[in-house]
């Protein structure tokens, strides 16, 4: 059988924008995949999984500068001699973060774009588009805009494009993420039926789909290793820190505060985007409480209203009805802004300044009662606690570091309550738990929002869920 993909002695490091150079992500990495093979590559978060995908797709280091040595051959062609657009029918990449791959105004035009590049006739395009829209349950969304789609729908659009183009190598980065069970099964069936060479990259192991793959590989210490499945999985969980004890267990909380954030008879109105004609959807909360030092989880499907509820708790929106109180005293939105810290899922929306030090000291400097030595001491302490380097530039730090910085900023604000929105997405469970432990250190109450029930189960404490528009305690 012919080789679909061969990588020999790949070494890659990103371009550094500081004095010291970056550590290489890969060293002597080699990989070989036969045509028609289906391979799962397990890689812990932030170990270069997505970079590897972009290298294979031909766009790194072109658009993500760095130094690369080694050779890559794709279906017999040396990758360094071709441009990405020449690979259109050779390799199809589905990104972990679908939003970054959208380029057209509607779903239909999104699918049409690569077909137009191929110069297909209009009739041919119409037929292929109708087929894949049907296959991925998107027929009613043909005219929808990317911003109106849920995460799962976005992923289905990318998979629909993949099917319409039907490239020889399917390069899928966390394809099962965000998909509802029925579409996960559909994806599995599509991969099996298509018979294409498939490389799936994942940072969490999905036992349900184990039988889909011919081989399971592991990205370990900058190279790819092949071990028997059982050993691979055990090594993988070591790499992810899953076997370390949860930092939340036996944690001693320094400060024993006694406050309670509570909400009663709340009604949340969730407005849909302008163009969809469905009426606004209401969510109700009969009673909710969060105490100092407590860990509470909130789970619910995508789009069930978790974020809308969080926005009320931290005072970004006014409730339609009902009261939010701290220790029984009704709070205005302004007061809530200052008592409930809300860590957005995307840390980049909460990072503003050129260095970690400026970022951490920004809000402390605005408090007149603090001397500069006190500020330096607190900033230094927080940097140590969250393992940050004060001189680093936040925008070029890794995702887990940016997430830690976001948490450190809020740690210094010392809010009595924190809401952590999808903290575990793109973080290992262990680093997510460590962030939670640090934020709880001084007795704050924490509400963790997640759609991953596995992660929610790791956090002992009361649990809320949203079902059919009602927030209830489980």
């Amino acid at each position: 059988m012919a080789h679909a993909l061969t990588i020999n002695n790949l070494r890659f490091s990103y371009l550094s924008y500081q004095e010291r150079s970056n550590e290489p992500l890969f060293c002597d990495l080699s990989l070989s995949i036969e045509e028609g093979e289906r391979v799962l590559l397990l890689a812990p978060f932030d170990m270069g999984k997505t970079t590897l995908a972009k290298i294979i797709g031909g766009v790194c280091p072109k658009y993500f500068p760095g130094t690369m040595t080694g050779s890559i051959t794709l279906f017999g062609t040396d990758l360094s001699t071709v441009e990405p657009w020449q690979l259109l029918t050779e390799v199809g990449y589905v990104s972990q973060n679908p939003a970054e791959q959208f380029i057209a105004t509607t779903v239909e035009e999104e699918i049409a774009f690569p077909l137009e590049s191929l110069g297909l006739s209009r009739a041919e395009m119409r037929e292929r588009i109708a087929t894949v829209l049907e296959a991925w349950g998107l027929a009613h969304l043909g005219d929808a805009n990317e911003s109106e789609l849920s995460g799962g729908e976005r992923k289905r659009v990318l998979l629909a494009i993949q099917q319409a183009l039907s490239p020889r190598l399917w390069l899928l980065d966390e394809p099962f993420d965000d998909l509802d069970p029925v579409w996960r099964v559909r994806l599995k069936e599509t991969i099996l039926a298509g018979g294409k060479t498939t490389l799936v990259l994942a940072s969490r192991y999905l036992a349900d789909f184990a039988d889909l793959f011919d081989r399971v590989l592991l990205l370990d210490e900058r190279r790819i290793v092949a071990l028997p499945l059982r050993e691979s999985l055990s090594r993988f969980s070591t790499l992810c820190g899953d076997d370390k004890p949860s930092p939340l267990l036996d944690q001693t909380i320094e400060d024993q505060r006694r406050t309670t954030l509570s909400a009663g008879a709340l009604a949340v109105e969730r407005k849909r985007r302008s163009t969809t004609s469905t009426p606004p959807f209401e969510m109700t909360v009969d009673s909710f409480a969060l105490e100092s030092g407590e860990l509470v989880t909130l789970t619910g499907a995508n789009g069930s209203g978790k974020s809308s509820f969080s926005r009320l708790l931290c005072g970004l929106d006014e409730p339609k009805r009902g009261v939010i109180a701290i220790d029984g005293k009704r709070q205005s939105t302004k007061e809530l802004n200052r008592s409930v810290g809300y860590l957005f899922q995307n840390p980049d929306l909460q990072i503003f300044l050129p260095t970690v030090e400026e970022e951490l000291s920004w809000s402390l400097r605005r408090r007149r009662e603090l001397s500069s030595s006190e500020i330096a001491e607190r900033v230094g302490f927080a940097a140590d606690l969250f393992a940050l380097d004060l001189g680093d530039t936040p925008t070029t730090m890794s995702y887990p570091k940016r997430k830690a910085l976001q948490a450190a900023v809020y740690y210094l604000l010392d809010r009595p309550f924190y809401i952590l929105d999808e903290l575990d997405s793109a973080l290992t469970y262990h680093s997510a738990l460590s962030i939670m432990a640090s934020l709880r250190q001084r007795g704050s109450g924490i509400l963790l929002i997640t759609h991953d029930r596995l992660f929610a189960a790791k956090v002992e404490g009361r649990a809320y869920t949203i079902e059919a528009g009602r927030l209830i305690e489980r």
């Binding site: 031909g58 658009y63 049409a112 191929l118 200052r338």
Partner: protein
Amino acid sequence: MNTSAFVAGNGWLYRFDPRAKILLMVLLCIFFFLPITLLGLFLSVLLVIAVGWRNTGTKNIKGVFLSIAPMLLFMLLFSPFNVRSGEPLWRIGAVTIITVEGALQALRLACRFIGITYVCTLLFATTVMGEIMLALRFWRLPYKAALVVTLSFTYIPFIAESFSQIAESHRLREAALEERKNYIQRLKDLVPTLTSVLVVALRSIPNLAMSLEMRGLGRSERRTSYRSLDSYTRLFTDFVISITIVTMLWLIFKA
């Protein structure tokens, strides 16, 4: 945020071929500057408004008018004073305040202003953006230019959404209830927010470039187009209508 000036409807203007509609718009704008009688200009503008009202409804027509009302008022109040010569219309003592010519001049400018406004607005209110781009491509707009416009339309909501979230997050980070800030401080506080918005936007550039190439932009095949204006079957007729309307107006109303 809404990035479209389109108003849903199905009047004849909606069924008019966009390629011809653009021509009609340009011709009408030129017509408003030609030497025509004031009555003629007035009647033509009235015609444009009437057509707009039939096609896009009262609400839209009113909205457009309200948006230009302050400017219009200002124009009518001040421009008559510019023309000093001619027959006096209003005088206080020996001083002529407004001349007949001045008043007529102001009316002409106001009519022209209203006319241009409605003509431009109607094009965008009755044609979806995608079809305007296709029509501009027909008028020889290069593909890459059309692509830049389309892409920026897809990025506007993303950047606007990031902006509002960043501004919110800034609000959540303030240390304590801060006293009313002065103007300079408010502007200074804006710098980190704007910087952050720009960084978020800039970070998306490599991803966009990557996705364009991975979707085959740059291939040697001749690009085909999925969307077309084929559903408009009367291109020639609509061209003829466009040219006829403007020619007729010119012949009837020329000064």
